[in-house]
């Protein structure tokens, strides 16, 4: 299904100040960066900040990129570090769970309830790993093996988290639909 393809040369070109390469990398990866940030931060405003910081950092550090055939993993590592920096700067004394408790996806009115139905369900009912596995699988085009390697979890865990998460979402949607009906 998905869908992210990046030529490593673009990152080399970004290091030389090539605006076209930057645009292409942005267009190819902004969805996966944003989705991944949402899966960690659970709040759109925070994910936007992290998305901004990620691409700024990508531009500034493009010169240190060493081609190893995994440009997306490199970009998502930047995004993950940006997520943790963001959490740390905002809530030095507040735990991640507490931040998330304060994050109510449904409070975000930037999209219609219908257009954010599944994303809100994912953010509401999935645990960290389930959410990351499912969103990465949906937007990155990575296989479970690549997702497991990136998240540092066994392949079997990635697969079981994925299936359990999908089942949770399906049930949540049915409940929501039932409520609505």
């Amino acid at each position: 299904m998905g869908l992210t393809t990046i030529d490593e040369k673009w990152i080399t070109r970004i290091a030389k100040g090539d605006g076209e390469a930057f645009q292409r990398v942005y267009e190819e990866t902004s969805s996966v960066v944003f989705g991944f940030a949402m899966s960690i931060l659970r709040r759109k405003e925070d994910a936007e900040d992290v998305m901004h910081d990620t691409f700024l950092s990508l531009y500034r550090n493009a010169g240190s990129y060493r081609p190893m055939g995994k440009p997306l993993a490199w970009i998502l590592t930047i995004a993950r570090n940006a997520c943790y920096s963001h959490l740390k700067s905002r809530q030095d004394h507040t735990g991640l769970d507490q931040i998330r408790e304060g994050a109510d996806p449904s409070a975000d009115t930037s999209g219609s309830a219908e257009s954010r139905l599944l994303l809100d369900a994912a953010l509401r009912v999935l645990d960290d790993t389930e959410c990351q596995v499912i969103l990465l699988h949906a937007v990155s085009g990575w296989k479970h093996r690549e997702i497991a390697a990136f998240l540092g979890i066994p392949l079997a865990t990635s697969l079981s988290k994925y299936r359990r998460g999908i089942e949770k979402m399906r049930r949540a949607l049915e409940e929501k639909t039932g409520d609505a009906g």
Partner: protein
């Protein structure tokens, strides 16, 4: 896992992706500003650099949207130009009013543009292997768009460029030629031809168009060669193109080659690809008996690639071996491209001992397709001793 479960997963993922795409902010412009990156480096802006502001409005005239690559390019070009300001509409109106009576053009796959009163002022052809032909009015707006061959149809993918600004359409066509891989290392030559009743206007339009597209291709990662050609509109040329199923551009190129090399034949040249014709035009010097007509083709960019042909050294070695002479004993070697029976050949001329030779070598596969030998002491007689036509039936290796 059951098929139903797979479907549920796919549907959930697809919808998630849509929702994420819809929810994500658009930070590109602010990031580029913050990074000090120039927007002129983007593909769309690269195109914009060469399009004049008065070319606004092309997108709104786009009809019959398809998923073809020309359409994708047209959208990207049009997205840039719709932002521009109409600066010369008055000039345009003046042009229309002041234009000389344009030539009537027999329509082929005609689709009328938005201005039904427009009549063709020029025919513009784009030839690589795909051949696409546009007729345009005096304000450089496309009246008809015709795919001249099957590759041209594939390139256009059903898209009708009628009503589009010529320059926007040209970028869309050339952009698609690049992305669809029609311009390759072996077939890198693009022929842009303008045929107008007023050849001076046609020449000016051709120079402007060729220059713009050369600039675009120069900045692309394509080692393209661009040939610009202008020709006076004539019924004879149109009939020749139509009867032969080729564009007016290719027809004019064949006419130019025949004028330069009267010993070539029309039938033989018609069998060649655009790349082969342009290799001949570029590499084969005019014959001594050529008519003294002015050149109407310019090379705007690069050089027609010969990488699809054997190296000259191999052709020479094949010629020497055919007549059993050692390379070390050969002198006065001259190798030129030529055309014979619908094939590109190397014409290898040389002397060895008391004899002189002219050996024709198929430039694709190295086969000998003709040989003549003369006694150097009897050169004045000029009677060929040998004419080896036994190899003339080799198969065309094709592009």
């Amino acid at each position: 896992m059951s098929r139903r479960e797979e479907n549920i997963e796919e549907r959930i993922e697809l919808q998630l992706k849509r929702e994420i795409d819809a929810a994500k902010p658009d930070l590109l412009e602010s990031l580029m500003n913050e990074c000090g990156l120039s927007a002129t480096e983007t593909a769309g802006d690269r195109i914009h650099e060469d399009i004049h502001p008065e070319k606004e409005g092309a997108a709104s005239r786009l009809r019959q949207p398809s998923r073809g690559s020309v359409y994708r390019f047209l959208r990207s070009v049009a997205a840039v130009v719709v932002c521009a300001v109409i600066a010369a509409s008055a000039y345009r109106i003046g042009l229309r009013r002041g234009a000389a009576s344009p030539a009537g053009t027999p329509g082929s796959t005609v689709t009328s543009g938005p201005d039904v009163t427009s009549a063709p002022a020029a025919t513009v052809s784009f030839d690589v292997n795909p051949s696409v032909e546009l007729t345009v009015d005096t304000s450089e707006r496309v009246i008809t768009c015709t795919a001249v061959n099957e590759d041209g149809k594939e390139l256009l993918h059903g898209l009708d460029l009628a009503g589009t600004d010529l320059h926007v359409a040209a970028y869309a066509i050339v952009g698609a030629l690049v992305t669809e891989g029609y311009l390759t290392d072996d077939a890198n030559a693009l022929l842009i031809s303008v045929m107008a009743q007023d050849d001076a206007s046609g020449k000016a339009l051709e120079e402007k168009l060729s220059s713009e597209l050369s600039g675009f291709l120069r900045r692309s990662a394509v080692h393209a060669a661009v040939f610009g050609q202008h020709a006076a509109d004539s019924t004879e040329l149109r009939d020749f193109a139509e009867d032969s199923g080729i564009s007016c551009g290719r027809a004019a190129l064949i006419r130019s080659l025949l004028a330069r090399n009267p010993r070539m034949t029309e039938a033989s040249l018609l069998a060649l690809s655009t790349q082969e014709l342009l290799v001949l035009w570029e590499k084969r010097p005019p014959a001594a008996e050529a008519s003294d007509s002015p050149e109407t083709i310019d090379i705007l960019l690069g050089s027609a690639s010969t990488s699809g042909f054997l190296p000259q050294e191999e052709a020479a070695a094949a010629a020497f071996a055919h007549v059993g002479v050692e390379a070390g004993s050969v002198e006065n070697v001259r190798i030129e491209f030529d055309c014979e029976d619908g094939f590109i050949i190397y014409e290898v001329e040389f002397s060895a001992g008391d004899r002189s030779y002219e050996i024709d070598v198929n430039a694709r596969d190295g086969r000998i397709v003709g040989a003549e030998t003369e006694d150097r002491q009897e050169e004045d007689d000029a009677d060929p001793e040998e004419d080896d036509g036994s190899d003339d039936d080799d198969d065309r290796d094709g592009d």
